[in-house]
Amino acid sequence: MPEPAPPGKPPAWQDPRVRALVFQALAIAAALGVVAFIFTNTMANLRRQGIASGFDFFGTTAGFGVSMSLIEYAEHHTYFRAFLVGLLNTMLVSAIGIVLATFLGFTLGIMRLSRNWLVAKLAAAYVEIVRNLPLLLQIFVWYFGILRQLPGPRQSVSVLDAVFLNNRGLFSPEPVLKPGFTAIPIAVAVALVAVFALARWARQRREQTGQHFHTFYVSLAILVGVPFAAAAATGFPLRWQYPELQGFNFVGGMELIPELVALVLALSTYTAAFIGEIVRAGILGVSRGQLEAAQAVGLTRGQTLRLVIVPQALRIIVPPLTSQYLNLTKNSSLAAAIAYPDLVLIFAGTVLMQTGQAIEVILVTMAVYLTFSLLISLFMNWYNRRIALVER
């Protein structure tokens, strides 16, 4: 048993404040001790084995080629440029994957709530199958199982002689911009502004007079008409360049390498299964009273969905949805297994091999992903604060 408490001031080791200080000091000492242990060992090992250290390698010539790059890259560029190429490729595959996964995921979520029994069950079966299989396996199936089996360039599957699919990738016509093209994006921007203004005006009118103004067809007309007029005025400054079989493969046009296609398909179909569940839970999370109230004030089904369910469901959906986006971005690192030149393959793969500087390379790679996730959590906190304000 603890000895009886002495009268007056307790001894120092029983003072909670002293203890707190001691424990924290010990924690710091332990953490520093581990860091120092690792650091001294690493330094000793590097010195003994004569491995270079530092970040100077970023400035030296890379000397290796990359199969796909969004920025200009050639063998004579630096390792830093190669790093950027990998980073951009990671962002590209994540961006496409997020868009597709969101679209497919919302579809699945709504299908699962469908009144149609068969549709709901099909969606449920999809979710249960895809969610319970490793992502890497799904990437392999898409890449080695399906895309690998496609015919070679000379026997490509073609659609209207414009889009070609073979085991080297998907080739489609590429828009070539002629002078005067800048008028079109400007026209699109003008049309968008006009549509927003119209919607605002219509809402104000409704609130003031109670009269409805159907903005839909007018908006559509503006959105299509203004850019079309601009295009006609500048003489349709857009040409399509078609891919052509030349030498070994198709040349010209846009090319999606099979590694990218497989990765995007696998990432989006996998993540969609999780997003579908989030969407379903979000819609189910809107309380029944809200629906009854909406019907009581005489809203139509469409209005109920648009004005009552979706805004409230989104509040539930968005936080887990963002973390799914983050997961997708992190999962894109599995590219390394199928040779898609992302950050991990180019930087933590080839650059690590060629320079031998494992520590620097892996720390930088981790820092990049950590930055992504910090940015996403910042966004999430901001969003949560915002919706909290709306609520109260």
Binding site: P2, E3, P11, W13, Q14, R19, L26, A30, G33, F37, N41, N45, L46, R48, Q49, G50, I51, A52, G63, F64, G65, V66, S67, A74, E75, H76, R148, G152, N167, R168, Q246, G247, F248, N249, V251, P258, A336, A339, P341, L345, G349, T350, L352, M353, Q354, T355, G356, A358
Partner: protein, 340 residues
């Protein structure tokens, strides 16, 4: 109070645990363990390749067996660790293997910045290209715009880039880590060209669905001296691995082979042969092994010529001529340092 003391005592005990033991040289370490840990490829026929029973054969494997014979007079005292191109240096640096004998090219950067030591050249090689006969390509100069399958993180990848750059041609690299995946991608038509060392082309070709449907282009675009590698800074071990190879070459030069080695030991008057076979001098002692080390290597494994013929020579499926790998006095580049 007791609790506080207890916590302190426990932390103190944990801290004392963090004490590192001093390490002996690799040779003492290996002798103590009783076997050599040898890093090999994940399967390159003729160089290091496992059969269905898991027995390893090949030139690179014979170097490891040679080291084991020098130390233990037993070629089975080797543990093989298959390594990908990417893992190989880490495995050596971290001490997971004692010697890396895995068709590895000797370069300045590896010798210095990666903290390695190459002990010699087991096979003089050069990089080449393979394409399907259907493409009707006759020269590497016609490969502009081709997709090329290549192993990631190899000198091959860099030579490829240099060659296309020098000839002002473009190409698309398709890179994989495992050699099997590279050749599988090529076989499935993901790329037009497969590139690696020419010995590797001959070896990997055996894995294709239809080996005769492919042709090796005449260009040799690089120098690829392949050899065993050890860690920087352990000279005793470095010397042993180096001289195992020289002993095999020296034996061939002086006509000692696995069949006549006992007879030569008994009857040869040549002082060089006597020194090699440990009849005269203290060659083995200087290396820190038994004086009969070279005799045992030649008896149990053979001289370099025998090893070559057995694993990659014209009578094997690889059908590689001796070429650059003939001895220096027969028009080749293999020049063993004298054992004396």
């Amino acid at each position: 109070m007791y609790r506080f003391i207890r916590t302190l005592a426990f932390l103190a005990a944990v801290c004392t645990l963090v004490a590192a033991g001093a390490e002996a040289g690799t040779m003492d370490d290996v002798k103590k363990k009783g076997f050599v840990r040898c890093g090999v490829s994940q399967g390159v026929p003729g160089f290091s390749n496992p059969d269905a029973q898991g027995n390893w054969t090949g030139i690179d494997v014979d170097i490891c067996r040679g080291v084991a014979v020098a130390l233990f007079n037993d070629p089975t005292k080797v543990k093989y660790l298959p390594l990908s191109a990417k893992e190989r240096f880490t495995a050596l640096q971290s001490g997971e293997v004692d010697v890396l004998s895995r068709n590895t090219t000797w370069t300045l950067v590896r010798d210095t910045a990666l903290g390695l030591n190459f002990t010699g050249v087991t096979y003089y090689d050069g990089q080449g290209f393979m394409v399907t006969k259907k493409l009707n390509v006759k020269s590497a100069k016609q490969l502009n715009g081709a997709s090329v399958c290549v192993s990631i993180g190899t000198t091959t990848e860099l030579n490829l880039a240099d060659y296309f750059r020098a000839n002002n041609m473009s190409y698309k690299p398709v890179t994989f880590e495992k050699a099997d995946e590279v050749i599988a991608a090529y076989d499935a038509g993901r790329c037009d060209v497969f590139t690696t060392d020419r010995s590797g082309l001959a070896a990997q070709r055996l894995k294709l669905k239809n080996p005769d449907g492919h042709v090796v282009l005449p260009e040799i675009i690089s120098k690829e001296p392949l050899g065993p590698v050890v860690r920087h800074g352990d000279d005793q071990w470095f010397d042993l691995v180096k001289w195992v190879l020289y002993a095999m070459l020296e034996a061939e030069e002086y006509g000692v082979n696995s069949e006549n080695v006992d007879q030569m030991k008994a009857t040869s008057k040549d002082p060089v042969v006597k020194r090699i076979l440990g009849v005269e001098g203290d060659m083995g002692k200087n290396l820190g092994v038994d004086n009969a080390w070279a005799h045992n290597i030649i008896k149990k494994i053979g001289n370099y010529g025998e090893i070559y013929e057995r694993n990659v020579g014209p009578r094997t499926p690889l059908k590689l001529e001796r070429g650059m790998n003939a001895l220096w006095n027969k028009g080749g580049l293999q020049y063993p340092m004298p054992i004396r």
